[in-house]
């Protein structure tokens, strides 16, 4: 097979490291701006867990129950931006042709994913900060600064496996069908891993399969952050990393094949 010689690039036209970094930053900035200006997309994700916490953690419960619920609604609130921020926007962008355009443009391949990841991390951190404010100011949960930071960090990084899961769901269908399917994943998974009711109140069979759900492991981490779980955490961190890797791989494979 004959090949035409590559036409040499002019020296000035190679992508400098600085411009490459600039492309990543521009993508992140755009991704954050576009959603901050669309409150209809952001608010439901953040309000869900904060309203629940206000009702059950402040009005109906006090003391250690409020501490427990801060962690479990925290896990619930962290999952949302990952699943919906990634899944819904990917499904819509695949449908509208934006993803096709971006793949045709010389966008650095990682910039698109990183932009959405950063947006989800920021949204998850905002949710945790709101819950912390409610917990400390209204429910009078006492937390050390270290515990607060631990919960914030769990939010920022714990959202990532759910980004991967949302991304995978976003590759399964296009357009407006995504929120429905994501809720079918989100709500049962939250219930089955003890984010709404403590696991001890669920049937034994459900308790036994709880570690199947990534949200169960996230809940163990948020409980540890507020000082309610003193077991080793490495296993949960590895489980979440494993979920992230598997769903990222599945999603990337589907995107490569189907666009």
């Amino acid at each position: 097979m004959e090949h035409a010689m590559p036409i040499p690039l002019p020296a000035a036209a190679t992508m400098s490291r600085r411009r490459m970094l600039g492309a990543y930053l521009a993508e992140m900035r755009s991704e954050c701006l576009r959603y901050l200006r669309a409150p209809g997309f952001i608010l439901p994700m953040t309000l869900f867990s904060t309203v629940f916490y206000l009702m059950f953690g402040v009005l109906l419960n006090h003391g250690e129950a409020s501490r427990y619920l801060l962690a479990s609604y925290g896990a619930f609130g962290i999952i949302g931006p990952g699943l919906f921020g990634f899944g819904v926007s990917l499904a819509i962008e695949r449908d509208g042709g934006l993803l096709t355009l971006k793949r045709a443009l010389p966008m650095p391949p990682g910039a698109y994913l990183l932009g959405k990841m950063v947006m989800a991390m920021i949204a998850a951190s905002v949710v945790v900060a709101l819950l912390l404010a409610i917990g400390i100011l209204l429910a009078h949960v006492s937390l050390s600064p270290g515990q607060m930071l631990a919960l914030l960090a769990t939010g920022a990084f714990g959202v990532l496996p759910f980004c991967a899961l949302g991304m995978f769901v976003g590759t399964l269908l296009k357009g407006q069908g995504a929120p429905g399917l994501l809720n079918l994943v989100y709500l049962p998974m939250a219930f089955l891993s003890g984010l709404w009711l403590p696991l001890s109140m669920l049937p034994r069979a459900l308790q036994r399969i709880a570690p199947v759900w990534p949200s169960y492991h996230l809940n163990q981490l948020t409980q540890a952050a507020v000082g309610l779980n003193h077991d080793p955490l490495l296993g949960h961190v590895l489980a979440l990393a494993g979920f992230a890797a598997v769903f990222l791989w599945l999603a990337a494979r589907r995107l490569r094949r189907n666009g």
């Binding site: 036409i7 036209a13 992508m15 993508e27 096709t100 045709a104 010389p106």
Partner: protein
């Protein structure tokens, strides 16, 4: 410079199937530096597949696909192209200036936001959110995004759909300016007058194959048909029976004759009706040539292939 260095994009012997459907079969086309190639063909002819291959969105099942001598999936090749797709819903909450800055950030040496906006005629829209623009304004913004990276090759997929005549003319002028600067353009369009106005060469596709490639003139010359119009009392039915006349009819009082032997028919018409007036003879346009070509290719298809496609 030798010829191979002038080729900016190339398909050679390309095959692409979707399951049992053959989208492209032994397709070849070349785009040279500084020229505009118009890719024409009915829906389902394989134009979109050909473009998707050159953009690296699809992989060919067989054959060679090259962009600046590289694999189109190599980002270094795509840093030299600009793209305007037929369907792309850009983020509606971002302002035009922000979209331009974002897209320009992907390129090594982009134009300034002001320059891109001026070339595409969107300088007055920079602070407006994309979703608030009319359809024609959105197309102009997409054109600005296509040229903002200072591309050496521009892919324009149906760029003027939804534009009014004046906007279309301004876009054509901008395309001509880019061509004059040495940029190459691969244009797909349903408007044959657009191809006629801009193209150096046209490539006509049908049923996954390139059925004609050449200059606009060469394509028109392939069709020998000419049309005669005049005011005359001669009966259309009689003219129909004359040799080399393919059709004759009377529309709005005028006699319309289609023939491959215009001179002979005109002579006979003048003899038959000395009162004949307002005589016009026209060569068939690109539209007729195109229709004829695609019809030929349909008729030339063996029965079996028609079923598969």
């Amino acid at each position: 410079m030798n010829v191979s260095e002038q080729v900016v994009a190339r398909l050679a012997g390309v095959e692409k199937r979707y399951g049992r459907l053959v989208a492209l079969e032994n397709t070849g086309l070349q785009l040279r530096r500084g020229e505009l190639l118009a890719l024409l063909g009915p829906n389902g002819a394989g134009k979109t597949t050909a473009i998707s291959l050159l953009l690296g969105l699809l992989r060919a099942d067989a054959g060679t696909v090259e962009l600046f001598g590289r694999d189109p999936q190599d980002v270094r090749a795509r840093q030299r192209i600009g793209v305007m797709l037929q369907h792309a819903e850009l983020p509606g909450t971002l302002r035009v200036g922000e979209l331009l800055r974002l897209t320009a950030s992907y390129y090594p040496a982009p134009r300034s936001v002001a320059e891109s906006a001026r070339m595409a005629g969107v300088d007055d829209l920079l602070t407006r959110p994309y979703a608030k623009l009319s359809g024609g304004q959105q197309r102009r913004v997409q054109f600005a995004l296509a040229l903002c990276g200072r591309p050496e090759l521009l892919f324009l997929d149906e760029p003027t759909v939804g534009m009014d005549i004046e906007t279309r003319q301004r876009l054509w002028a901008a395309i001509r300016q880019l061509l004059a600067e040495g940029c190459s353009v691969l244009l797909t369009t349903h408007y044959l007058e657009e191809a006629e106005a801009l193209a150096d060469r046209v490539c006509v596709m049908a049923r996954g194959r390139v059925i004609h490639e050449g200059t606009v003139e060469a394509l028109r010359a392939r069709v020998a048909t000419r049309r005669i119009r005049c005011l005359s009392a001669v009966d259309a039915g009689v003219v129909c029976s004359w040799p080399a006349v393919t059709a004759a009819e009377r529309r709005q009082g005028r006699l319309h004759v289609t023939t491959e032997a215009a001179e002979a028919v005109v002579r006979r018409l003048l003899d038959a009706d000395p009162q004949l007036s307002e005589l016009e003879v026209q060569r068939a346009g690109l539209a007729e040539a195109f229709t004829e070509l695609t019809r030929e290719s349909e008729q030339g298809l063996p029965e079996t292939r028609r079923e598969v496609a």
